[in-house]
Subunit: 542 residues, 2 copies
């Protein structure tokens, strides 16, 4: 069989990736984990390839790294090498990279070390912090293809605005990561570099579309990652991998230079946001970016600095136990219940929050994803002739072309629903909503098929943080109740496919959702929740 | 000839208006000015119908009114009656009302007076301030038709969000005002209540689409007016009538309940903003509204309070002498030159500001006005069969239906131009731009046909204040230079039709434009300009 044109194009991307991988740090075949081993998260530590200090470095969050670098205890080069080493192993096991940028990263790091030696201080609040970015975030002079084979040779004319700002405060960019075909699906597989895996359990979905970032941050290949989110694409991977993933309110974080075909679509804005290993790091990176007043360069942003919000337990948390369509599965119910119990024990006011018009919100957002009938995506897929995978087919299959006037009507319904939902929160006296990010923890590969728990907040343009609660799926306690009566067709599908044994060991995350533009208050509330979880763990026998 | 269906519908609107006019305050036929008199602005004073105190009241701006009411010198009822009396004469001469709301206004005013007697203080920062609103701003239970005959019986379910907020700080609503057919033209004439006139010179255009507001504020029928602006609709009437008209950055002032067919069109947002008789009143009304945190109810707004900005003469004013397509006519050139001279005399830094891509901006905004091919407008016009006037025909004639994807591409070009323009301002070190609002002062009725000087700032979403400079057209000094060589076809059209004698006595206004979201800084800069104008007038022989 002859090699098709699309395959040789795709091969170029694979070759570029292969060339960029730091060979010297790859595990030997003999060092690789057994093919039957499901959880590979411990491999870097076990491998002996990282020094104890490198393990310590990669276990540190960005805030901790900067602290140690500001005292001179660690150098930026040392930190960068530690993360590069771990990322090499991470990629070998999870296939999460699209490109390593080792030389650039090392030269950035050495320049930072020079600066530090000369000035006896760090260059900025992210001095020496290794950051990974989803592939479609532009890096000057490097290809940026959004996973389309047809665009493999498209070169970014400049760094993305956000990358420039992060560099200005000292961040080091060493790694670019994988994303799915069309960028519009909840798991990560494409014709260029294949599928990204979930290190907690290789049988499980890793999430998408910022799947490479979910793997990068949970496997500690970078201290902070940046993904994008139009329907949950930061939060699926965070939830499935067990790290923090923050979808900010739209028009706060610089988006210029994120390469996403369909530019100018504003009805549901795609946003860029961080994946981290601590809440501190969300605050750190958001304030580092916004103190640079990016709205003066990118006019679609609103001029709102990242304000300091004191965490206060004088908040009311509304628990949305379900979305009105699908009930969470046993592990997720357990996580929500545990969180609520601990919040109550910590003296935080918690009330039930009835879901509101989820189905209408879904109709609106799903229509507004593809008002051009997905012509944008189909044209690019057809341009190379690359095969269209099942999840892309399913997602693009919902597309329906509408006119500009119909689009307006949907915009108006969207705005009305945003207003209504916030009125409801005010009436109910609820400051933040606690809910699931997905019906369950990570499902089996190829079975990510329900997005309302994340999309709802894109439709409403509310800031949403996915955060781990320190629990994972345990078949001994997370069995389903065979007599359960599903509340909808969707619910039946999710219930039928749930099997505790399948998802054993998957980390469980919850989602904290705040009011529109109250990003800082949302993060402050997440701290209260995290404090409550930590305090009860220490004080109570559970 | 039989009366057509549309005519009997339109007649209903006229009857409602006629019923609402306070008959007792109408001038007798014998009191009306001579039909050959062009400037009728002095009629209220001359008529003897207003007491000296009522003249004083109607000469006061809103800030002054509130001051006098807060000491108890004037009552809200007295103020309301004074403005109603003047508005009755104003309407009689200029045909600017669509509805008087005398009884509601008087009962609001009496309630305010009761409050004042009981609490010995004003109820809020707009206590007793009579405000007029353009017809398509909703008042609960009253028709709202946006000048379409087909919608004459459309009843507003609620007050507009802005009206609710203004009422909450004490404003009194006594008057609703005229607007043109389709709302998309620069002068005010429709099939419901006809044409609104310019009291400075009845042969001149009054401007549009907030033409009723231009007449209301300049004739002192209200202390503050609210109009809307998608391409200049606040600023044309302000410029032609000689008052202040402020187009804020989009998404700052509550827009909910402004009834404009085509809801959900977001590419070029229509905004609502004030027309006033002083800069103080712009600050007063903006802060009164925004201190109520309207963004918590109307989620499309950005959460930016109206911040106090100290005026500082340490600014750089860029003078955009022309838009690159049409040169201002002699009176406007004189106004700009005079302003610049006085700014320089006052020690303010002034630099020339070359126009930038005006033609491209016009292509973008004119396309984005009607991406549905103006089907929205045509459907409503056709629904009643009302005749379509010449200016509507001309404006709708430019409409071109585009697809959603084409709309996206225009959005992207719009955003790129916004970014470029602000980069340019930063490079040139310019804080605000001083320019014309129109090639000349008010042109003859039926000849408003050039919008780039206002539309440019809608396209760029920059705050823009039109303000009088204390000059008016004087044929003795504003003659055109017959040897002038037009710089474009558009320029030739404007040059050929200019005739100083036609526009004698027309007030001349300039436009002050600030950076996106720097609404407060724009108003502060306008104060510097006004101070300079006032100071030089006092100190120099001109």
């Amino acid at each position: 069989m002859a090699i098709q044109a699309w395959e040789s194009k795709a091969e170029k991307a694979r070759e570029r990736l292969a060339r960029s991988v730091p060979k010297k740090w790859l595990l030997e075949k003999s060092e690789l984990p057994s093919p039957t081993r499901l959880n590979v998260m411990g491999v870097p530590e076990e491998s002996g390839r990282l020094t104890p200090e490198e393990i310590q470095i990669t276990n540190s969050d960005a805030s901790g790294l900067v602290k140690r670098m500001s005292t001179g205890e660690w150098t930026a080069e040392q930190v960068t090498i530690a993360y590069l080493k771990r990322a090499t192993i991470g990629h070998q096991l999870l296939n999460m990279a699209t490109e390593f940028m080792m030389e650039d990263a090392l030269s950035q790091a050495r320049a930072l070390d020079d600066y530090y030696r000369q000035h006896k201080k760090v260059i900025g609040p992210l001095h020496g912090v290794p950051i990974s970015t989803k592939e479609h975030v532009s890096h000057k002079g490097r290809p940026v293809h959004a996973s389309y084979v047809a665009l493999v040779e498209n070169i970014a004319p400049d760094d993305a605005h956000l990358v420039r700002l992060l560099k200005a405060c000292g961040a080091v960019f060493h790694l670019r990561t994988n994303e799915p075909q069309t960028m519009m699906t909840g798991d990560t597989e494409n014709n260029l570099s294949g599928r990204t895996k979930n290190g907690n359990n290789l049988r499980l979905a890793n999430g998408g579309s910022s799947g490479g970032e979910g793997a990068s941050i949970s496997f500690k290949c970078a201290a902070i990652g940046f993904g994008t989110d139009i329907g949950g694409s930061i939060r699926f991977p965070a939830a499935f991998n067990g790290c923090y993933g923050f979808r900010p309110t739209a028009c706060r974080v610089p988006y210029g230079g994120v390469f996403l075909p369909g530019e100018g679509q504003e009805s549901i804005r795609c946003v860029i946001g961080p994946l981290t290993r601590s809440i501190d790091d969300v605050d750190l990176v958001m304030s580092s970016v916004l103190e640079q007043r990016p709205w003066e360069k990118e006019l679609s942003l609103v001029p709102l600095p990242w304000k300091a919000v004191k965490k206060s337990s004088d908040i009311t948390v509304g628990v949305m136990w379900n979305d009105g369509i699908v009930n969470p599965q046993p592990p997720m119910q357990r996580a929500l219940k545990t969180t609520v119990e601990k919040l109550i024990a910590a003296g935080v006011k918690v009330v039930d929050f009835e879901p509101y018009k989820t189905a209408e919100a879904m109709e609106i957002i799903l229509t507004l994803f593809f008002p051009d009938g997905a012509k944008t995506q189909w044209d690019l897929l057809n341009a190379s002739g690359e095969p269209v995978n099942e999840q892309s087919q399913r997602m693009l299959g919902i597309a329906r072309e509408i006119s500009v006037a119909e689009n307006w009507a949907y915009n108006a319904r969207r705005d009305a629903l945003r207003d209504e939902f916030h009125d409801l929160m005010a009436q109910r006296g609820v400051d933040v909503i606690l809910t699931a990010p997905y019906p369950g923890a990570a499902p089996l590969v190829g079975t990510v098929d329900y997005g309302a728990y994340t999309m709802l907040w894109n439709m409403l343009d509310m800031p949403a943080l996915v955060m781990p609660v320190g629990l994972s799926v345990d078949p001994a306690i997370d069995q389903k109740n065979a007599s359960y009566q599903p509340i909808s067709e969707h619910d039946k599908v999710q219930f039928d496919k749930y099997n505790a044994e399948d998802t054993v060991g998957a980390p469980i995350c919850v989602q904290v959702v705040g009011k529109h533009f109250q990003d800082e208050e949302t993060i402050a509330a997440a701290r209260i929740i995290e404090d409550a979880l930590a305090r009860s763990t220490k004080s109570a026998v559970l």
